[in-house]
Structures are given as structure tokens and as C-alpha cells.
């Protein structure tokens, strides 16, 4: 079954608490997957994320030393469909702008490889060795987002799906399905930045079993 990008929701707010929530709609279809990337300033950790009451699995968590930001990736295979609440639970109350972006998929085998390049540099790149027909979510955190871009693969700019002020800035986008192999992505602005890529894999195509005719 082909991997299909579904609905997208981006949220930026000052939580004013140690938990907050917003709605997101998961598409109907087989092999659903929900991926959420959260950028939280300071030393505030994301303890857990729930969607429709189900806990997401943490895929990656990294402290960005250049930007004093906690960057985490979460996924949920076969999430409940329809509109449900995304609940973000932080280690302490946060009074800084916090970014969360949600991507829904169908026909997905879940999250594959991910890679992050830091410390910060200008027009930063990172490389992922992906499976055939995977999509890549590319995300940046940088000092500003003036002329921000995300290129997946390098040389092919994609629409900026979110662009949030989190004391610093975070932005990113997604590719369509790509061929297998090492894929370098690039992002930048007029300032320096770090970059992360997250692979979303296509569900395996199960061949129809041959029928056997047994003559007795």
C-alpha cells in the first residue's frame, strides 16, 4: 500500500503550565501513523505525548546546545482516526514559546531512521539512508527564519509547513516519496541552524499468496 501524507497540524504557544493540548485529525486508512516533532526552549523536557488517550513512543530526544532547546520526535502507529486531542506533558511549567507539528500518514510502516546535525552551521545538511518510497520530514532550529528554506533532497525546496518563534526559530517541511538510498537534506536561513531528518516508511506490500490445488 502506497505511503500517503495526510493531515498536518502545527501549534505554537506559551504553555503557561506543564501540560497543554490541541486537536489534530488522523486520516482514515490502513497502516496509519502519526509523527509529532516538539521544540521546547530551555531545559524543559517533554515527558510524554498522548493522542486520543494513547501514548506516543519517543523516537528521539536531543538537547540543542547552541539554542538551549529540547527537540523530540514522537510516533504512534495505528492511531485512532478522526479528530482527537494531542496532549503534551512537560517536566515543569513552561513560559516560553513551544512548537509542536503533527503529520498523519496512511500506508505507513512507521518511523524509520533519523539523523540530526549539530552544532549549528549555515545551510546545514544531514544525511539519511532511507528505504524505497519513504518520505522525509526535515526540521530546522536556527537563530532566525529570514529566508528560511528546507530542501529534501538537497537542491529541491519543499513548502515550509511551520515557522515558529521559540525564543529562537523552528521551521520545516516534508518530501514526497523518495527512492531508496543515502539522501542528504538541507535547511537554512540568513542565520545559522541545526537540522534533523525523520524518515517515514511505506508499509510493506504483502504479495497475494498463490493458491495451491491439491488433487486427491
Amino acid at each position: 500500500m502506497a505511503l500517503v501524507e495526510g493531515n498536518r497540524t502545527a501549534d505554537r504557544r506559551i504553555p503557561m503550565s506543564n501540560t497543554y493540548s490541541f486537536n489534530h485529525t488522523q486520516n482514515t486508512g490502513a497502516d496509519g501513523c502519526l509523527v509529532i516533532i516538539i521544540a521546547s526552549p530551555g531545559t524543559i523536557l517533554v515527558n510524554s505525548v498522548n493522542y486520543g488517550g494513547q501514548a506516543l513512543t519517543n523516537v528521539r530526544q536531543t538537547v540543542l546546545t547552541n539554542y538551549s532547546t529540547y527537540w523530540s520526535v514522537w510516533r504512534l502507529n495505528n492511531p485512532p482516526t478522526g479528530t482527537n486531542s494531542v496532549q503534551v506533558n512537560l517536566s515543569v511549567s513552561s513560559w516560553n514559546g513551544t512548537s509542536a507539528v503533527c503529520y498523519s500518514f496512511t500506508g505507513s510502516a512507521g518511523v524509520g531512521v533519523n539523523n540530526l546535525t549539530q552544532p549549528a552551521g549555515t545551510n546545514q545538511t544531514t544525511t539519511l539512508n532511507i528505504s524505497n518510497n519513504s518520505m522525509i520530514i526535515g526540521a530546522c532550529v536556527g537563530g532566525n527564519s529570514t529566508n528560511a528554506y528546507i530542501a529534501i533532497p538537497q537542491g529541491t525546496n519543499r513548502p515550509i509547513d511551520w515557522n515558529h518563534n521559540i525564543n529562537n526559530w523552528t521551521w520545516g517541511g516534508i518530501s514526497p516519496s523518495l527512492p531508496a538510498g543515502n539522501t542528504t537534506i538541507q535547511g537554512g536561513s540568513t542565520s545559522s541552524n541545526v537540522i534533523m531528518g525523520v524518515e517515514v516508511k511505506e508499509a510493506a506490500i504483502v504479495p497475494i499468496a498463490r493458491r495451491r490445488i491439491i488433487i486427491v
Binding site: 495526510g6 493531515n7 498536518r8 497540524t9 502545527a10 501549534d11 505554537r12 504557544r13 506559551i14 503557561m16 503550565s17 497543554y20 490541541f22 486537536n23 489534530h24 485529525t25 478522526g82 479528530t83 511549567s93 513560559w95 516560553n96 511551520w162
Partner: protein, 95 residues
């Protein structure tokens, strides 16, 4: 199409905590920008000016809601609202 979700923020006296509820949406970027600016100039400014005191608990958000009981803001954007609990686009009145 991008939908900008409009949230209503006020003070919940029963729980002694702020309350944030999604109440509708707009598709107009100028409405989104108006609500963003309004938030930045009011509650956003209060938080920025009192961040240390809010973090260490010597000041409460209630001080803000004493003078501004209700505030509307846009935190969330999405490309799908078909199943959201509200169905009509909000008409933003500038003031």
C-alpha cells in the same frame, strides 16, 4: 487551505487556573495576524514582562485575567478541520 484555529482563553475560578478552549476557525491570514498581535500585546507581553516571577511562583496569571477576563488567540494551524467540534468560520470583529 490553511485553517487558523481560534482559542478562547479565560480564568477558571473553580480550578484556579487559566482555561484554553478551541472555539472556531478562520481562513483569513489578516484575522490570524490580528489575533496574534492582540495576544502578543496583552497576555504575551504580560508573560514576557513577568517571566521570572511566573516561573518562581511569586506572581500569578490571575493578575492578568483580573483586568482582561477573556482573550482570543490563534495557536494552531491545520489543513483539515472536517471533524473538529465546530463547523462555522468565525467572524472576527476588529476593535
Amino acid at each position: 487551505m490553511e485553517y487558523y484555529i481560534v482559542s478562547k482563553i479565560d480564568w477558571d475560578n473553580d480550578n484556579n487556573h487559566y482555561k484554553c478552549e478551541e472555539v472556531g476557525y478562520t481562513t483569513k491570514i489578516e484575522d490570524y495576524e490580528f489575533l496574534q498581535n492582540n495576544y502578543n500585546n496583552t497576555l504575551g507581553a504580560f508573560i514576557e514582562n513577568n517571566k521570572t516571577e511566573l516561573e518562581n511562583g511569586t506572581k500569578s496569571l490571575y493578575e492578568f485575567f483580573e483586568t482582561t477576563p477573556t482573550l482570543y488567540a490563534c495557536f494552531t494551524t491545520t489543513n483539515a478541520i472536517e471533524h473538529f467540534p465546530f463547523t462555522e468560520e468565525i467572524n472576527i470583529i476588529y476593535y
